[in-house]
Symmetry: C2
Subunit: 225 residues, 2 copies
């Protein structure tokens, strides 16, 4: 069984890669350089792919700063920091990148069709979907319909299946799953800023730190604060 795995290098997508391995897939990872704030996560993605022994790793490059619209693609928009988990859950954050998962899944579909892959794995989860429209189950179902109708494989009844194993999990449950699967957390990168060590105050750092703390575990990566 062949699978394309969307791999950003963070906790979630790294766990998904190890889940795909555990499911018996030959894994082809796909990362994106969309001129996000930093390339640090791409280095992490390559390192994790290498550790997991993937069959292939592709980086697709394009430039979403052409039109901006997000704190991740427009350097004039400040990153939110020191927000509580409650605040994060209440609205679509400024780090939302318009249509990002749709773009990512579209490239995954193209790559999957050229590989004749059976599955595309994506690490969307229930924490994300409180704020991000393109992390909800009904959105994933809509993309599955696109996968079925929009490709030669789909027309031939062999549509690539979208697998979102984390969609109903909380961050703590994802870490517990990753622990069981042997995900090398020390190689992952979640921080939105691109410094030498993670900032510890952006939404991504705070979600991650809170989850490790709740489990009584120490996050093995270094933090500035």
């Amino acid at each position: 069984m062949k699978a394309v795995i969307l791999l950003s290098g963070g906790l979630d997508s790294s766990t998904v890669l190890y889940q795909a391995k555990a499911d018996g897939c030959d894994c082809y990872t796909l990362s994106f350089d969309y001129q996000q704030r930093h390339r640090r996560e791409l280095v992490a993605a390559a390192a994790i792919g290498s550790a997991a022994g993937v069959a292939g790793h592709q980086v697709v490059r394009f430039d979403l700063t052409q039109w901006g619209g997000s704190a991740l693609t427009d350097l004039t928009i400040a990153l939110p920091s020191d927000r509580s988990l409650t605040e994060m859950a209440q609205s679509i954050p400024i780090t939302y990148v318009p249509a990002r998962n749709t773009i990512f899944l579209s490239f995954a579909l193209a790559y999957a069709e050229t590989l004749a892959a059976d599955r595309v794995y994506i690490g969307v989860n229930s924490l994300d979907y409180s704020g991000y429209p393109d992390c909800r189950p009904e959105y994933i179902a809509a993309m599955q319909t696109v996968f079925r109708l929009g490709t030669q494989q789909g027309v031939e009844g062999q549509a690539t299946q979208i697998v979102a194993p984390l969609i109903q999990l909380k961050k703590t449950e994802i870490i517990q799953l990753g622990d069981r699967l042997g995900v090398p957390w020390e190689k992952t990168w979640s921080c939105y800023s691109g410094e030498a060590v993670a900032c510890g105050v952006c939404d991504a750092c705070r979600l991650r730190l809170a989850a490790f703390a709740e489990l009584g575990q120490v996050d093995p990566i270094a933090y500035a604060t």
Copy 2:
């Protein structure tokens, strides 16, 4: 009313641009340099956008030759030539690019959301959908669901509408529509090869030449044969 128009520089998308203008839209055109065989169509798209007086024109660059899978993105695959219209209608051609319209519509959705655009226009048509899965009405409907569920605008009940005005038209009807709208055919480019003049024998040239001939009109661009 604001609209994003997917503009390749061929007959169909150029007609769609002029239709969007006639519909009263401020037009923002979007073209793609995906390392297709030649850049000639991008020159045509820019010229047509300029002639139409668009409010904005963006070219998104990425590289689909990374994984190939089509005669348009893999130079080792020969372009089909001298095929009859019947042959073209019977199967998915080797010029099919996996998931291309899904990728194009995903970027259009991202651009539309940052512009708060009301519409995305795409020039898929009934001739195409005999062979291309991602030109069929049911595929467009599936992408509309993605537009509704996958964006902040959609969640807020302001989903960008996909408009496919050519979807039920034959090539001759598209030319008749374009004639009424004043499309500058001499600036368009359809040929799959990237020579100084159109080859006249690839599928794209043959479809176009046959339609002009059927209408008793002369295609104003130059052909090698």
